[in-house]
């Protein structure tokens, strides 16, 4: 049915967004390392349940490495690099829960479902349409960039400024022609239709969604109490 079912747990896109928001606000007020470790462990279990194994492993390894750097490497560093290194390590460690959850959102949510979820929240079409196009354009952008750099190698372009100009101009030109073609294509498919769009995949909350939304709310409450 087009849903990306990987693991044993399937979440509603709205749950993932709410949870992401909850974690996001929580990490700002929390300054206890143990609470952070619990949140992180819970997130990694969630990722494993949802079947995103690679990202779960990556996050776990990154988190443990950052903790190890902080407690085993930093005390032996000279003071000059310590200041900046400490900030980098702490910031990345604190932002890691957000990154982990965002990976889950990106890897398990098709863009169609995300659009549908945002529409359920009554976000205006003027925001949803460009948003979907932006997400869809990123892979194309990589292809374009590859083609341009191949062409530059053939023509032997030198100099930083010249190279930059030779990348920018074709990118912008192709982007503006793509925009014209794409708008014709989607108009032909009836994006102008003012009626709310339907979705073939039924989207509703299950028990796991209610539980996780509850968790998100608890995190928010903790965040504001700590504030």
């Amino acid at each position: 049915m087009g849903t990306m079912k990987k693991g044993i747990l399937v979440l509603d896109p709205r749950t993932k967004i709410l949870l992401l928001l909850g974690i996001n606000i929580y990490v700002f007020t929390n300054s206890y390392v143990w609470a952070e470790i619990i949140v992180m462990a819970a997130l990694i279990i969630l990722l494993l349940l949802c079947g995103v194994y690679k990202a779960a492993l990556k996050s776990a390894v990154t988190y443990i490495t950052l903790l190890a750097i902080k407690y085993f490497l930093l005390p032996f560093c000279p003071e000059i690099i310590l200041t900046s290194l400490n900030i980098v390590v702490i910031t990345f460690r604190k932002l890691l829960p957000c990154v982990t959850l965002a990976t889950l959102l990106v890897q398990t949510t098709p863009i169609r479902l995300l659009m549908h979820a945002l529409q359920r929240w009554h976000l205006p079409q003027t925001v949803i349409i460009p948003l979907a196009i932006t997400v869809r354009y990123f892979p194309t952008l990589r292809e374009e960039q590859q083609a341009i750099s191949d062409a530059m190698k053939l023509r032997n372009v030198h100099g930083v400024f010249q190279k930059l100009e030779y990348i920018y101009v074709p990118l912008m030109l192709s982007a503006s022609t793509t925009a014209d073609e794409l708008s014709q294509a989607i108009t032909a498919r009836g994006i102008d239709n003012p009626r709310p769009k339907t979705c073939a995949v039924s989207m509703r909350f299950h028990i796991q969604d209610y539980v996780l939304c509850f968790v998100a709310i608890v995190l928010l409450i903790i965040a504001f109490v700590l504030l």
Binding site: I17, L20, L21, N24, I25, V27, F28, S31, K70, L74, P75, E79, L82, T83, S84, N86, I87, V88, I90, T91, F92, K94, L95, C98, V99, T100, L101, A102, T103, L105, V106, T126, V127, I129, P130, L131, A132, I133, T134, V135, Y137, F138, L141, E165, Y168, V169, L171, M172, L173, A175, S176, T178, A179, D180, L182, S183, I186, T187, I191, D192
Partner: protein, 197 residues
């Protein structure tokens, strides 16, 4: 002024140029991981390199809301991909609104409006390094844990202070502003002749 409403074509343009604007910001973000000082300069650098896309978009879509939509989309996507936290949505929304006000005052077709909006949009990127100020408590706590000296605290405070915050804002605005100037040069050289704008 009668056609001031965004049509499907305009929305597609905004979507595609937002992708370019964000992609270039992410590319220049790569070296930032090395040192936090570069992170403070990142909004300015991102605005500088993204300015050309921004200028072309606003020249193509001289209507109300295009700068705001670009800012909001960048904010939402930076948030959803985990590159940045929710703070960036707020900063980008504020930046977008400021940009729209500037464009309204100077007129949607004038370059002054575009340049100011470009500067304000670059300010939106400060949502990324802003957690450094909000995480201060954690930094101080880790200093206590490790029993660091006064020197260290001073170094930290000089980096995360009101002064450096204002500096960051200024760098971001100037970066975005210069970016649009470069963009205008490019438009004149390549795009006006081809009849795209």
């Amino acid at each position: 002024m009668e056609n001031n409403k965004l049509k499907v074509k305009d929305l597609v343009n905004i979507g595609i140029f937002s992708a370019l604007y964000m992609a270039i910001a992410m590319v220049v973000m790569l070296p930032v991981g090395i040192t936090p000082v570069l992170w403070l300069l990142w909004p300015g650098i991102a605005g500088l390199f993204g300015g050309a896309f921004f200028t072309l978009l606003l020249a193509k879509v001289p209507k109300m809301g295009s700068a705001l939509l670009l800012a909001i989309i960048s904010g939402i996507l930076f948030f959803a991909t985990g590159e940045c936290t929710w703070v960036i949505i707020v900063t980008f929304a504020v930046a977008g609104i400021l940009g729209e006000i500037a464009r309204k005052i100077f007129g949607y077709k004038s370059f002054k409006g575009i340049a100011l909006a470009g500067g304000f949009s670059a300010i939106g990127f400060i949502g990324s390094p802003l957690p450094m100020w909000l995480f201060q408590e954690s930094y101080m706590k880790s200093i206590e844990e490790m029993g660091m000296g006064v020197e260290y605290v001073e170094g930290l405070q000089s980096m995360i202070s009101v002064g450096s915050f204002i500096g960051m804002l200024a760098v971001a605005f100037v970066g975005g502003f210069i970016g649009t100037l470069i963009g205008r040069k490019m438009l004149k050289k390549h795009f006006e002749k081809a009849g795209i704008v």
